[in-house]
């Protein structure tokens, strides 16, 4: 008798399980528009004269069309203040990501690595903890020649480390060719 009861239960348990067994394909929720950086723009302002901007842009993201890279052209023996902005040009209107970097300045660091005749960059701005940030800086060109500047945006770097620019995650890493006349 006990067996009978148990097995009846067993059998109905199966029926219950059967009715809860179907997973289905969900219709796709639209992807949350995750932010994207497509463009790096550096503006060089000399002590006297007009400011010039140069862009590195890959508007359609990885793959597809190749990125469009402008060559930075500077005058020799000149001091410039530089200002770097990050944009998302895949959207309309264009989104300015720089504002968010400023808001989360403690978590970001802009690094500049130069080669050839390109002069070193001095970072002049700071984050909320008084550590370097990198959106603003100065350079002083010397002799004419060619070179390059590699601009990197690091996320959560260790700003106290010996080489902060090799820590953290790389959000942006672009290289501009530089010509000094």
């Amino acid at each position: 008798m006990k067996n009978q009861l148990f097995f009846t239960f067993f059998f109905f348990a199966f029926l219950v399980f059967i009715s809860f067994s179907c997973e289905k394909d969900t219709t796709g929720d639209p992807d949350n528009e995750s932010e994207l950086i497509t463009t790096v723009s550096i503006t060089f302002t000399p002590a006297s004269g007009a400011a010039k901007s140069f862009k590195w842009a890959d508007k359609d993201g990885a793959g597809g069309l190749a990125p469009v890279i402008e060559t930075i052209v500077l005058a020799a023996n000149t001091s410039y203040t530089i200002s770097t902005t990050f944009l998302d040009e895949s959207k309309s209107p264009v989104e300015n990501i720089t504002a968010e970097i400023l808001e989360e300045s403690n978590d970001h660091l802009v690094c500049y690595a130069v080669s050839g005749s390109a002069p070193a960059v001095q970072i002049t701005d700071q984050d909320k903890k008084k550590n370097p940030l990198g959106l603003a800086g100065t350079i002083k060109t010397t002799t004419a020649g060619n070179g390059s500047i590699k601009v990197s945006l690091k996320h959560t770097p260790d700003k106290k480390a010996a080489t902060p620019c090799s820590t953290g995650e790389t959000d942006v890493e672009v290289t501009f060719p530089v010509t000094i006349n």
Binding site: F14, K24, V40, G63, I97, E100, T170, V172
Partner: protein, 785 residues
């Protein structure tokens, strides 16, 4: 299907008894020529005689059936070793080999077959394949000791199987150098359809639901598909309970590395509702683990969770046997944070370090990056017995697989804390219908004819690795086996035709030209078995198979964060075509047992990722770029093992595998081929070796060589050094009042805490393999009749 009958046993037995007496009276001299007698008494586990048991002798035209007293007498046997095969409908087939030196009387005990249908005497799909397919069965004891590590790691114990790993928690089987889409995995006879194309997508099957896993090498079985270029893995659940009552088992496992715990259980029942016998099972597994540990540091974020559940329900009435099977697999896998690389610069830094930045710590929480996989499988199988003609099998199934991947990256912005929005979401739904008719032309010819249809829809709701697609496939096959009872040869051939329609459902304008794709082709196998003696046989097998390019190979376009590379598909790829040739050898005599497989396979239009000279420039920096291309390759190899049973207590096994792949078109080595591997296993049995409840102490020494046969400029780093690894295992059975037999296993894997890396582990650039691991496991069966 029966062997030649001797004269009704009553007469023969009487004669037999007289002859036995006369031999005894006349002394030993008569035994020098072929005049030995063997009396067999076949009984059931309760000692009751079993009549009408067919007895055959391997490789000879001897045989007969037991009489009503369960007795069969053999006369005029030579002083030799004989292999006897016992079969009776409804009872488990049994084979025994022994040496006849004197007149012998022997009692054989048979057990009832698990499958309810009377006419079938085999246990599952795999057994119907017979010797003609080159297969290796993972014995139950080895399966139980490694189930906790997942399907691929269990199979690794077989000589021809290696694994492709992504970290320590993701493992895929490699057979004859091939994996992913080239290896079919079948759950209860149905092809597993998930995202198996990805090298970091592990098979979504819980090994705890199975008691038998077999590997079929090469294009051995046309019945399951024409595209198994590497082989087929059959995962079979145990048959449903036949006798009334309840039984079950519980598994408890704990592992020190990762502080992993596993609880798995199974309950089987059988009851008659009026005239209808109903049998059922429920089974489930829970797994929970935290960060793994290498000899020098923790691997942060390598925890794992698994929640699996399955049930089976079956009944039989007259000639129909019907079963339902449902399984649900859900797992959350943590991916090593340090392996998700930003760009090439970060990758180069990581490779130079060769280890994570920090030593890490132990924690159970699984953060980003992580994978969440759900696989649901439902099947309805019907077997209709057609009396002497064989049987008809109708198999309908539905599978649903949902894969979510959460990156540690975002294009920009802070990562959300919750796991509501995955970065990648794939959902694939597959319906399948198969009909197979097993038909016996006469006692020597045995054939199968069948048709298999599949419809599949894949949607990519997040991420853009592969587009949405729908796929329809249809295949028809015919296989024929020829075996004359008295002959030393068996032959089998099979032919199959498949059509495949692939439709891209994505609205991306770049894909519109490739919206409709059609493929078709034939595949076939031919094999023969030669029983060169009572104690050994050879299998010769050749086959041609083909595989359609997968959507990922045709249309990938993007950065693959898991491998810090940019992968681009090629919509002009054509199907691969392989020609597989193998020779398999088995021999068992006295204290030695040997098995070995040698193979030489050609694959034309083999699809693989070929590096481009120029990196792809993205806002994140440069990524090495790879294009899917085709080339002609050949892969050859040799694997096998040899066991020496020195005496009642000691066993020594030597196992080795070697694979050589060549990219013929490029005249260079083929990338990612397994390195040479050798194992020496020593087992000391504390008590009767042949007893199912034996205890043993075992050491396993594994040597994997450095892979030197690699093409230049294909990889980020050279293959790692070779290594030596020691594993120790102790197994015992405890009898007690409450449970008849508790199995206790204690294993120490990587006992010497060796530091090593595996060539086929995609994370080898970043971390070592796990260090020492103490595994304690209990298996507690219970039940009553």
């Amino acid at each position: 299907m029966s062997f030649s009958k001797i004269i009704g046993c009553k007469y023969g037995c009487f004669l037999g008894i007289i002859l036995l007496f006369s031999n005894y009276l006349l002394g030993q001299e008569l035994h020098s020529s072929c005049l030995l007698k063997l009396q067999m008494a076949v009984v059931d586990p309760q000692g009751k005689p079993l009549a009408y048991v067919n007895v055959g002798v391997l490789g000879q035209s001897l045989g007969g059936s037991t009489n009503e007293e369960g007795i069969l007498l053999f006369k005029n046997l030579c002083k030799d070793s004989y292999s006897f095969q016992f079969s009776r409908i409804g009872w488990e087939a049994y084979e025994i080999t022994f040496l006849i030196e004197n007149d012998t009387s022997i009692q054989i005990v048979l057990r009832e077959s698990g499958i309810m249908l009377d006419k079938i005497t085999v246990l599952g799909d795999g057994d119907k394949l017979g010797k003609n397919t080159i297969k290796e069965v993972l014995d139950l004891e080895s399966l139980r000791s490694t189930m906790g590590f997942g399907l691929a790691e269990s199979l690794k114990q077989l000589p021809g199987v290696q694994t492709l790993n992504t970290g320590a928690s993701i493992s895929k089987p490699i057979i004859q150098g091939l994996h992913s889409n080239r290896v079919l995995i079948l759950q209860n006879g149905v092809r597993q359809e998930g995202q198996q194309w990805g090298s970091e997508h592990a098979p979504e099957i819980d090994p705890f639901l199975s008691t038998k896993i077999q590997v079929i090498k090469g294009a051995g079985s046309i019945r399951y598909g024409g595209d198994a270029l590497g082989g087929i893995i059959l995962v079979e659940p145990p048959a449903l309970r036949r006798e009334k009552g309840l039984d079950g088992e519980v598994h408890l496992q704990g592992m020190s590395n990762g502080k992993l715990g596993i609880l798995s259980g199974q309950l089987n029942g059988n009851h008659s509702f009026g005239n209808l016998p109903v049998s059922g099972r429920i089974q489930g597994t829970l797994k929970n683990g935290g960060n793994l540990h290498t000899p020098d540091y923790f691997m942060n974020n390598t925890g794992v969770r698994e929640e699996n559940f399955s049930w089976m329900l079956g009944t039989e009435k007259n000639n129909l046997n019907s079963t339902f099977f449902y399984s649900r697999y859900f797992s959350i896998l943590g991916i090593l944070k340090d392996a998700h690389i930003g760009n090439l610069t970060d990758l180069t830094d990581a490779i130079e370090r060769g280890r994570p930045l920090s030593d890490g710590a132990f924690f159970r929480e699984i953060g980003r990056p992580q994978q969440q996989i759900l696989h649901e499988f439902f099947q309805w199988k019907n077997i209709i017995d057609l009396e002497n003609d064989g049987h008809l099998e109708i198999n309908l199934s539905r599978q649903f697989n949902r894969r979510k991947e959460f990156d540690a990256h975002r294009n920009f912005g802070t990562l959300p804390n919750s796991f509501e929005n995955p970065n990648i979401l794939f959902e694939i739904t597959t319906y399948r219908g198969e009909v197979d008719l097993e038909h016996n032309w006469n006692q020597d010819f045995h054939g199968h004819i069948g048709i298999a249809l599949m419809q599949q829809v894949n949607t990519t709701d997040r991420g853009s690795l592969i587009p949405d697609y729908s796929q329809w496939t249809g295949g028809v096959y015919y296989t024929l086996k020829y075996k004359k009872p008295a002959s030393l040869w068996e032959f089998e051939g099979g032919i199959r035709y498949d059509r495949n329609r692939l439709r891209i459902d994505d609205v991306n304008p770049k894909l519109q030209d490739f919206r409709e794709n059609q493929y078709q082709g034939f595949s076939g196998t031919l094999s023969s078995v030669f029983h060169f003696s009572n104690v050994g046989f050879l299998v010769f097998q050749t086959g041609s198979s083909w595989r359609t390019p997968h959507v990922s190979e045709l249309f990938s376009d993007g950065v693959h964060h898991g491998s810090a590379s940019y992968e681009k598909g090629n919509p002009y790829l054509v199907p691969e075509r392989a020609l597989n040739n193998s020779i398999h050898f088995e021999w068992q005599e006295g204290k030695f047992k040997i098995q070995s497989t040698a193979y030489y396979n050609w694959i034309n239009k083999y699809i693989f990722l070929s590096p481009k000279k120029e990196a792809v420039l993205t806002i994140r920096g440069a990524f090495p770029a790879f294009n899917y291309s085709q080339t002609n390759v050949n892969i050859a190899g040799l694997d096998g093992n040899m066991t020496f049973s020195m005496n009642k207590h000691w066993d020594f096994t030597f196992q080795a595998a070697m694979v050589k792949g060549r990219n013929v078109t490029a005249n260079d080595y083929l990338i990612y081929m397994p390195a040479n591997k050798m194992q020496l296993i020593t087992t000391y049995y504390l008590n009767a070796k042949d007893n199912e409840t034996h205890s043993f102490f075992r050491t396993q020494l594994t040597h994997v060589a450095r892979q030197r046969s690699v093409p230049a400029a294909f990889d980020y780093a050279l293959p790692p050094e070779g290594y030596l690894r020691l594993d120790i295992e102790f197994l015992t059975h405890i009898k007690n009042k409450f449970f008849p037999d508790i199995e206790l296993g204690v294993a120490l894997n990587n006992a010497t805490n060796t530091r090593y890396r595996e060539y086929l582990n995609r994370f080898r650039y970043f971390i070592q393999e796990p260090g020492r691991n103490l595994v304690v496991r209990l298996r507690i069966p219970f039940g009553h009749s």
